[in-house]
Amino acid sequence: MTAALTTPAAPAARTAGVPRQWRWLVRLHRPALIGGGTLVLLTAAALVWLGGPLTDASAAAWKAYNACGFTPRCSYDQESILLYKDVYNWTTIAVLAVPFLVAAWAGGALVGRETESGTARLAWTQGVSPARWLASRLVAPAVLTVAVTGLLAALHHWAWAAGRDRIDTATSWHDMDTFHANGTIPMGLALAGLAAGALAGLLLRRAMAALAAAAATVGVLWAAVHTAVPYLWPSVTRVSGLAEGPLGRGLLVSEGVLTPGGRAEAPCVSSSMHSCRDTLADMGATAFYRDAHPASHYWPLQLVATGILLAVAGLLTYAAFRVLRRTTGTARG
């Protein structure tokens, strides 16, 4: 063990390079890597299980159920249907939880604990400049975060698609949890969470406070994305007759009635009811309308939202480097 302490003959570099620091980053965060890796592997395995055997069993059960018709005595595999639903819900939650976990780890362990205990200062006086120190703590985790969120979201999308037309209760593409977990939004959220954790750790210099602040930031960003998503791409308007009510499937943006004075809130949903017909006539309504996103808008919506989140992550990263430069006055070099 001690034999490895001999001086490495590398006279060229005056400061430690980033790859050399990664080795110590991995060593310092080994428990988190093992724990996080286990969680990711378990979730990935559950998703593969979900998309394969569970989907098949649930689809078969639904087939049997639908074949029953109105037969009074009929047997189908209800267990499989329930198990599919449970595993689907839990894996979706697991995928959506990744950004929160990344943010909490970045704020609490990656940066906050080092600024709180002073080991960051130790690193800065051991031939690692503050900027390089922060870079080493952002780049490798960012790459890992992209890989993990990408893998899990891809698996989730695959598992969801496998059951789409075969399982009667499968969630639609625009169900909010499914919408997020199937795409690139978790990746954007997780990267923003990583940067928020670093910034919070540098500003607050308290591990627990930085952990909470970073996780809260991800929560706020998620709520913002959730609210903004329907408006991130032009929606498709469908106009339908008064008797039909508003029509059109997909991610709903808004709906109502068209009147000579413009768009108005719909007082009721169909003129086939007498009271409704009278109200609509009083308003001078000519038709119902519905603004919605068809399934083909899924990726444009996801990519615009992810782009915004990446911009936020970039700003937070820039702010973290600025804070570091202001405190130490030495971020260059």
Binding site: L5, A12, R20, T125, G127, G329
Partner: protein, 295 residues
């Protein structure tokens, strides 16, 4: 003329909006000295060392380390923080290996191992299992292992027992002498530094009160005992006290003293305490020219 190891010019650091930890500090420390930074708790000693180590940016003024900006001198400066922060999950051996990895090209593994070995430390022990004194030893090993030209130590001996303190101080002085390292160490215990240091920086209330070679500083001051009512006005008075018919004072004489005054040279602790007791006493920080001439 050699480049000073540490040089501050109107250096100031403010935390928050109005609380100045350090203000208007100017001094120059020649290379090769062992300098004591002395002052009460909260005087600004840690801030001064952190500024020199490039861990904090000054609010005003400049500090230069080995003739360079602190950021540029990073690889030539060793620093031990007051709290001796180390990664608790690493073993002693891993910590030293990290030091080797983070200081490529200028890591002295033998020195680092020698510092640690003196403490009878199991290299496979985790840092979190070490006592305060053992942690200090590992922190010093990291700082000395990078073979610094300037070593900044913030209260390095605070949690050591007298035996370990004596032994580590000896080791430190040996290393410093062997490599010509300039050492700057802070303490609020003057006696701890008196034997090993040849230069003094007295910090009080965020200002430099005394700065210079210890022998010169002591020679510049005189403790006098005179009849009560004696006129001290011609000299710079650091402290004076009248008990009964006798006046006792620490002064910087500006000329010959009357024969009926008893005079002695104050001890370092005496001198430091008299300055700390009297915040209004005039500071003695030799102008850079005189200091350079003394080098």
């Amino acid at each position: 003329m050699t480049v000073p190891a540490l040089e501050a010019d109107a250096l100031g650091k403010r935390f928050g909006r109005r609380s100045w930890a350090l203000r208007d500090c100017s001094f120059r420390l020649p290379a090769g000295r062992v300098c004591a930074v002395v002052g009460p708790n909260g005087a600004g000693k840690s801030t001064l060392l952190a500024l020199a180590a490039g861990l904090l940016a000054p609010t005003e003024g400049t500090v230069r380390v080995l003739g360079a900006h602190p950021a540029a001198a990073r690889s030539r400066v060793g620093f031990v923080d007051q709290d001796k922060p180390l990664y608790p999950q690493l073993t002693v051996a891993e910590t030293l290996r990290m030091g080797a990895d983070l200081n490529p090209g200028h890591w002295d593994a033998d020195t680092a191992r020698r510092v640690v070995a003196g403490g009878d430390l199991d290299p496979d022990r985790r840092i979190r299992a070490l006592s305060g004194g053992q942690r200090t030893r590992v922190a010093l090993a990291l700082a000395l292992g990078k073979r610094p030209e300037l070593l900044l130590l913030d209260e390095p001996m605070a949690d050591l027992d007298p035996l370990a303190r004596h032994e580590l101080m000896g080791l430190l002085m040996g290393e410093a002498a062997a490599h010509g390292t300039t050492v700057v160490m802070s303490s609020h215990v003057v006696a701890e530094l008196e034997d090993s240091c040849d230069h003094l920086l007295l910090v009080g209330g965020g200002k430099i009160r005394l700065s210079g070679d210890i022998d010169d500083l002591l020679a510049a001051h005189t403790r006098v005992t005179a009849p009560a009512g004696a006129d001290l006005a011609a000299h710079e008075v650091v402290e004076s006290r009248t008990t009964g018919r006798q006046l006792s004072a620490v002064i910087r004489p500006s000329g010959p003293l009357p024969d009926d005054w008893r005079t002695t040279t104050p001890s370092l602790e005496d001198l430091v305490l008299s300055y700390l007791r009297n915040p209004a006493a005039p500071a003695l920080t030799p102008a850079p020219e005189t200091l350079e001439a003394a080098v």
